[in-house]
């Protein structure tokens, strides 16, 4: 760990990061399901300036999603029950992916299936599409028909999904497994997907939650339960990243959950993440992902840290005089 010295100029901080086979200009991405396929956010900032754009999870077939209401605001967060509404893989590959590439974005494509066969087909088709930086395998969406069958809640099932995906994705395209925090031992699930061939992990997906309508005292959401996201889940996400990084120190981790500022992003890097994703904060500020890049640069510069790589995993090192930003 490099010593941290005098404050640097923000422009002198090297934000580049490495994630398995993917080299990124900076460690900040959008979180799946919070940025569609990048086009809407491009009205507010240049998506090419992000480390990567992670797409909403793509399924094989077009999907209507769930009935409304699909959203409930909660303290420092929200519940959603979208149900993976999307156009299906054909429309994604013919429209959304070319758009991202034309705009020089680094696409990380999230895929979600209802069966091993669907995951395999999606992996094959996305993995063989030129320009895809990596694949994020959503095995943890709580909004599928059978909520008891979230693959990420069972290490054996989770491993099976990752093994079929890895088999069908060319070497050179990294495969990341997106994990659920709603498990007893996230390290065990991490080990299972890594042994099955995952190149890295994305932590965390939403937590399953419930909101009641104060008028009717009945569940607010059409889908009854929903996924909790936003700053409310940040400590849970940070804990998950920290636990897995402690147990499996060399594994590439993308941290996600409640990141709203550059200071939040810095915490995830220190906990062991090599990159971070910004999700629900977009619903508060459409420019949040690019603001986090800017703020992270300033946070590192103020601490005299010249490279992102110097701060990754810092929380696991013995205490040392980490420079505090000067007031």
């Amino acid at each position: 760990m490099a010593a941290h010295g005098a404050p640097l100029r923000p422009e002198d901080v090297d934000l580049s990061t490495v994630l398995a086979d993917a080299y990124l200009d900076n460690p900040v991405m959008t979180a799946s399901g919070c940025a569609a396929a990048g086009r809407e956010l491009h009205q507010f900032f240049d998506v090419a300036e992000l480390g990567a754009v992670v797409t909403k999870s793509i399924m094989r077939d077009p999907r209507s999603g769930r009935a409304t209401p699909r959203m409930a605001e909660t303290p420092s967060g929200m519940l959603n029950s979208i149900g993976l509404q999307g156009p299906g893989i054909d429309a994604f590959l013919s429209t959304d992916l070319p758009w991202l590439l034309q705009h020089d974005a680094r696409p990380i494509v999230s895929i979600a299936g209802g069966s091993l066969g669907e995951y395999a087909e999606l992996a094959r088709r996305v993995g063989n599409s030129p320009g895809v930086a990596a694949i994020e395998v959503n095995i943890s969406c709580p909004n599928v028909e059978n909520r008891g069958l979230v693959f990420a809640c069972d290490p054996v099932q989770a491993g099976r999904v990752l093994s079929v995906v890895r088999r069908d994705v060319p070497r050179g395209v990294a495969v990341f497994a997106k994990l659920s925090p709603d498990v007893t031992d996230i390290v065990e699930v991490s080990r299972a997907v890594l042994e099955a061939g995952a190149d890295g992990l994305v932590m965390i997906n939403t937590l399953l939650g419930l909101h009641l309508d104060p008028g009717t005292l009945r569940p607010t959401l059409g889908g009854v339960t929903g996924g909790l996201s936003g700053p409310a889940v940040k400590p849970v996400a940070l804990r998950a990243v920290w636990q897995v990084a402690a147990a499996l120190p060399s594994v590439p981790i993308i941290g996600v959950g409640g990141i709203r500022t550059g200071a939040d992003a810095l915490e995830f890097l220190a906990a062991g993440a090599s990159a971070v994703q910004v999700g629900t904060a977009i619903f508060n500020d459409p420019a949040a992902p690019i603001r986090v890049v800017r703020e992270l640069r300033a946070e590192l510069a103020a601490r005299g840290i010249g490279k992102v790589s110097e701060v990754i995993g810092r929380a696991h090192q013995p205490a040392s005089p980490v420079a505090q930003p000067l007031a």
């Binding site: 507010f44 959203m71 303290p75 509404q85 629900t280 619903f283």
Partner: protein, 294 residues
């Protein structure tokens, strides 16, 4: 049918807007923001989304409001005006704003009202503060020499918005209140059929609660008039990424899709919205789960 017809940049912008004034109007608040970039891009029916509670707010989701009026850059910069009711955590925070406070605003958002190409007679129907976007719409219609007839309804007199302004903007104004405190005792659809016949109305614009929009659409359909409805669906982002504000709408191809009211709406042709099926995914909807299929 109206988008993309000019070369003007209509893309939304995100600005830190300064509160110019905030005033109580009956049951509502009338907020004027200095928000450069938004006025010149705005068309009637567009909305803005406001972040509430400041940068570390625990209420994260942007609040969407129809644009009441805009004034292009002048002495104080371009202004955007909205009308809101302080009935939730976010709007109660907004009600406490004072001049010079700063609010993060995104807009203009959504598809505006479609305007008729011919100078036909139009009815503009507003429920409560749903009347807010109808006044600039009335101006645009008058510029096209369309007839403009307004119907404003609310529970009671204090929850009407813009009756005096309507009298300047329209050839006729009809007011209804449920409690009969002013105007016709009843709801907007009570006087509407006679109004449509009397003035040979060809287009009915409406903005207000969903039940009212459906009822207005039914009356318009029965009369053979076009209807343009600005829907209210709860939104998280307002910009098309969260997928929460969907409702079932039938496309020109006859296929029902769950469409985002923030980007495909908020204005829809009333006869295309499947009003009875809102809150469901009707069987046959594009991408709906097939019964018995896997």
């Amino acid at each position: 049918m109206t988008t993309g017809t000019t070369g003007r940049d209509r893309r939304p912008v995100q600005v830190l807007a300064e509160v110019f004034s905030i005033k109580r109007v009956g049951d509502y608040f009338h907020l004027t923001l200095v928000a450069d970039g938004i006025p010149e891009r705005t068309r009637p029916g567009n909305f803005v989304a406001l972040a509430v509670g400041g940068p570390s707010s625990g209420t994260l989701l942007m609040r969407a409001f129809s644009i009441y009026r805009v004034r292009p850059a002048g002495v104080y910069g371009g202004t955007v005006e909205i009308v809101f009711a302080a009935h939730g955590a976010g709007t109660q925070w907004m009600a406490q704003l004072t001049p010079h406070d700063v609010v993060d605003v995104v807009g203009p958002l959504g598809r505006p009202f479609a305007l008729p190409r011919e100078p036909v007679a139009c009815a503009l129907v507003g429920g409560g503060y749903g009347s807010a976007p109808l006044f600039t719409l009335a101006e645009r219609l008058r510029e096209r020499t369309c007839g403009v007839h307004m119907v404003l309804g609310a529970a009671s007199e204090s929850s009407l918005f813009g009756v005096l302004e309507a009298r300047r903007a329209a050839q006729s104004v009809t007011v209804t209140t449920v409690d009969g405190s002013v105007g016709i005792k009843g709801v907007v659809t009570d006087p509407l059929p006679a109004l449509l016949s009397r003035h040979d109305i060809e287009v009915v614009y409406s903005c207000g609660p969903m039940g009212m929009l459906q009822a207005v659409t039914t009356v318009a359909n029965a009369h053979g008039a076009w209807s343009q409805t600005a829907v209210e669906e709860s939104m998280a982002c307002g910009i098309g990424v969260c997928m929460t504000c969907v409702l079932p709408v039938m496309g020109e191809d006859g296929v029902t899709r769950m469409v985002r009211s923030c980007v495909e709406g908020p204005v829809f042709a009333g006869d295309k919205v499947r009003w009875d099926d809102i809150g469901t995914v009707p069987p046959g909807t594009y991408g709906a789960p097939r019964v018995g299929a896997r």
